[in-house]
């Protein structure tokens, strides 16, 4: 097998084209800026400003737009070229594009369906009116689909992310596997310092992030909401106490907290396991109070719903906190639904613990603001209970800022997970998650940069996507 170049045979046509378009774009952008600067003082007071852009500045701006789309078209051509030509013709880029084919199909399907029905989809549908929001959504869903296809079906990875193959240590991207033939017998993005496939590790790492980050953020929100609503609603001593505790956790440097919670000695002493016992109670509490507040006028249905929730969530709770190998392992094996693999529970708990106080502060502020509104007064006059007002009057009206913060916070949680990996905490050292891979790769960074750069860009693109998504959501929710 021959080593792959970045663009392969397609590159002979497309590379000069890309260079040409980029040069034209640079010249046009420079011209537009210069002409715009010259035109700006004149535009301030003159009537010409009303006539819209025209003349030389207008032409330059048109050129910028055209060349920009030409660059995008060439970049898409690399990907499409890789899809339609035989394996290897499109170089590394073409092979990557072909490997991600299921993701492209899923992305196209979700965009097609969402745009077709966007008027019926509420805030989610409105996202497709904003370019920023759509780019963010595409980036996020790219990683979500990649993670799902990898984790559930094992589709995207080309090699086993934990296997080392001799002779491929620190090899550059596109190196063929010695002795192997047929398609996918390359290390597409090179090998790391233990001769494992960088591409497969990056893809497998997305599954770890997508499993932990949204769920941990959701738990942090449940804890923050369950404590923040009463603190903001009642105020007084309760508020003072809870705010003090939240500020106490926030005054901790995050990394010190991680070191204190995640080291093996701490895991052995059982502190994180006990914290899991406490923190995972909050979602059950939240759901039960939510249902009870709504249904307490109809005792039969209330009993049914609350009982079902208690049974289902309670069982999940017990099997979650009961872990073999920690001081809390009481559930018989037949009843234990699942065991969270080593380290992940601890990482999960510490990430929830770090995020919950910030959510608490946001919810508390929103609750203090909203409790003065007329509809809350109306609900009080109707004789509704305090928890009904908090959960069914205040919470739904605070959803806008909370949804935006949820997106941002998933991104922040991803960064925190990376930080944990970067310091080699929590997850096992050969785990393919992005933080650990960056940590392993940074030691040889100045000689073989690819092993650290690939997961770094993966993490960057996911967090950027979440930030853009939050920005798009904020813009669209402010519009009405």
């Amino acid at each position: 097998m021959d080593p792959l170049t970045w663009t392969g045979a397609l590159g002979t046509v497309l590379n000069p084209l890309l260079l040409l378009c980029t040069c034209a774009f640079a010249i046009a952008a420079l011209a537009a800026t210069l002409l715009g600067l010259r035109a700006a003082p004149a535009r301030a007071g003159s009537a010409a400003a009303l006539a819209g852009p025209g003349g030389a500045p207008g032409a330059a701006r048109l050129a910028v737009r055209l060349t920009f789309w030409a660059i995008v078209a060439v970049l898409v051509a690399y990907l499409v070229g890789g899809l339609v030509t035989p394996y290897g013709t499109g170089g590394i880029l073409g092979c990557l594009s072909r490997r991600f084919l299921p993701v492209w199909i899923a992305l196209a399907a979700s965009f097609g369906l969402s745009i077709a029905f966007k008027r019926r989809l509420g805030l989610y549908g409105k996202l497709f009116d904003s370019t920023i929001g759509m780019i963010g959504f595409a980036l996020v869903m790219f990683w979500v689909y990649t993670a799902l296809f990898t984790g559930l079906f094992g589709w995207i990875v080309t090699q086993d992310p934990l296997t080392t193959l001799s002779g491929l240590k620190n090899k550059v991207p596109g190196t063929p596997i010695p002795g192997a033939t047929g398609p996918w017998s390359h290390y597409l993005l090179g090998g790391d310092n233990l001769a494992r496939d960088v591409f497969s590790r990056m893809v497998a790492g997305s599954w770890i992030v997508v499993q932990i980050a949204p769920l941990a953020t959701l738990f942090a929100f449940m804890v923050g909401i369950t404590l923040g609503l009463p603190a903001g609603f009642y105020g007084g001593r309760l508020d003072t106490l809870l705010s003090f505790l939240a500020n106490l956790i926030l005054a901790f440097p995050v990394i010190l907290l991680f070191y204190l919670l995640v080291t093996p000695e701490m895991v052995a002493s059982g502190v994180p396991a006990w914290m899991a016992v406490v923190l995972f109670l909050f979602p059950i509490l939240f759901v039960v109070v939510l249902l009870n507040a709504r249904l307490y006028t109809r005792p039969l249905r209330r009993t049914l719903w609350v009982g079902a929730a208690l049974l289902g969530l309670g069982w999940l709770y017990l099997s979650m906190i009961s872990q073999a190998g920690t001081p809390i392992a009481f559930l018989p094996e037949d009843l234990d639904l699942f065991d969270v693999p080593g380290g992940i529970l601890v990482v999960f708990v510490s990430v929830v613990f770090v995020n919950a106080p910030t959510v608490f502060r946001i919810v508390r502020g929103l609750a203090m603001d909203i409790k003065t509104r007329d509809y809350v007064a109306a609900a009080r006059t109707r004789g509704e209970g305090a928890w009904y007002i908090m959960l069914w009057e205040i919470l739904p009206n605070a959803r806008g800022p909370l949804i935006v913060d949820f997106c941002l916070r998933i991104g922040y949680t991803t960064i925190l997970l990376g930080t944990l990996g970067f310091f080699g905490l929590g997850l096992p050292p050969d785990s393919p998650d992005w933080g650990s891979t960056i940590n392993l790769g940074r030691r040889l960074l100045s000689i073989y940069p690819h092993a650290a750069l690939v997961p770094a860009f993966a993490l960057l693109s996911l967090v950027l996507g979440l930030n853009l998504l939050a920005d798009g959501l904020r813009e669209e929710s402010l519009r009405d």
């Binding site: 003090f244 000695e265 960056i438 750069l453």
Partner: protein, 349 residues
């Protein structure tokens, strides 16, 4: 006003007390103490030897009593030598029993204890590392604050323009790039010996003695970049809000030129909110400092924190946490006071 400050200082004291108690509890759990003993006397020792070492070195007593010793409200531990005299003790130092050793020696007496890893006074280590980190922070602030304010004002003065959209996207990009990503990318691009430009050094160890443009640019840029986007976005929001206010409209109708409008009328009010944000960012920068100092091998406060935490160096960790709590709460206090000072519409009652 004085009552407000006194109240905040009392809260700070209480927070520091609670926090050190938590740190003390977590670092003094049995498995952690065992590790401390094993790093001191070797890994292959029996449980009994560990036990006796812990007892001889003052780790034996009840946890709260030992916290009291650290704080200086309980008499320091002593252990008897075989002949009946004092062999060692918290307040005795390395040399054998001295006659005039004080009974109490804790934080209240100004004694922060000794680091088990660096074998030095905690106060000395923290002072040295804080000075190094202070140098780093100074340059970060020098780069970050003006940069962020200029970007924020430029994008906020004409909301929705192309400049605004471009700069806002850049700000989002910078907030989405954690330090360990931008640091890795910077090293690969600017310091890699294989493919990069080799403009700067990938390590800042030499910057501890003498910071130059070559060895200090990358760490400073890495930290500044992450905070810059957030401050710029807050400045932009504040600027955009000011630009829609009544007095700006009046000034514009009066015929004030756009330049004078922005510089003389809008800017002063638009910079009140970013001041708060900048002060509140400092604890976050501290967080970034830990990552960057580890990545660039710069032995400042963050590096010390990592060393202390990964070796379970109890007294150094306690000192580090006290310092970081004071930094966090002091910046909060300054931001509140500064906000009141800058914005005469708000008064503390």
């Amino acid at each position: 006003m004085l009552r407000f400050i006194a109240g905040r200082l009392a809260t700070m004291l209480l927070t520091a007390l609670c926090l050190t108690l938590v740190v003390f509890f977590l670092t003094n759990l049995a498995p952690s103490l065992e590790r401390v003993a094993k790093t001191q006397i070797g890994a292959r020792v029996s449980d009994a030897e560990v036990e006796s070492w812990l007892n001889r070195n003052g780790y034996g007593g009840p946890m709260l009593a030992r916290y009291g010793e650290w704080l200086g409200v309980m008499p320091g531990w002593t252990s008897a030598a075989e002949d009946g005299g004092l062999a060692a003790g918290r307040c005795l130092g390395d040399t054998a029993a001295e006659a005039g050793a004080p009974r109490y020696c804790g934080v209240l007496q100004g004694d922060w204890g000794t680091s088990t890893v660096f074998r030095d006074e905690v106060a000395t280590i923290i002072a040295r590392s804080l000075a190094l980190t202070g140098k780093l922070m100074l340059w970060v602030l020098v780069v970050m604050v003006p940069g962020a304010l200029v970007i924020g004002v430029l994008s906020g003065m004409r909301e929705g323009s192309r400049t605004d959209r471009g700069l806002s996207t850049l700000s989002i990009l910078s907030t989405a790039t954690p330090e360990y990503v931008s640091g890795v990318v910077f090293i690969a691009v600017f310091a890699s010996s294989a493919v990069g430009l080799r403009w700067f050094n990938g390590s800042a160890t030499s910057a501890m003695e003498q910071a130059t443009f070559t060895n200090f640019t990358l760490p400073v840029m890495t930290i500044a970049l992450y905070g810059m986007g957030y401050i710029a976005r807050m400045t932009r929001a504040s600027m955009a809000e000011v630009m829609t206010s009544q007095y700006i409209r009046t000034a514009r109708l009066k015929g004030v030129s756009f330049r004078a409008l922005v510089l003389r009328h809008a800017l002063r009010n638009a910079l009140i909110a970013p001041f708060t944000v900048i002060m509140l960012q400092i604890p976050w920068i501290l967080n970034g400092v830990v990552i960057v100092e580890t990545l660039f091998n710069y032995k400042g406060f963050g590096w010390t924190l990592v060393q202390a935490a990964s070796n379970n160096d109890i007294e150094l960790l306690l000192g580090v946490s006290v310092v970081s709590v004071i930094v966090v709460l002091l910046t909060q206090l300054i931001s509140d006071l500064g906000y009141v000072y800058l914005n005469p519409r708000i008064r503390i009652s």
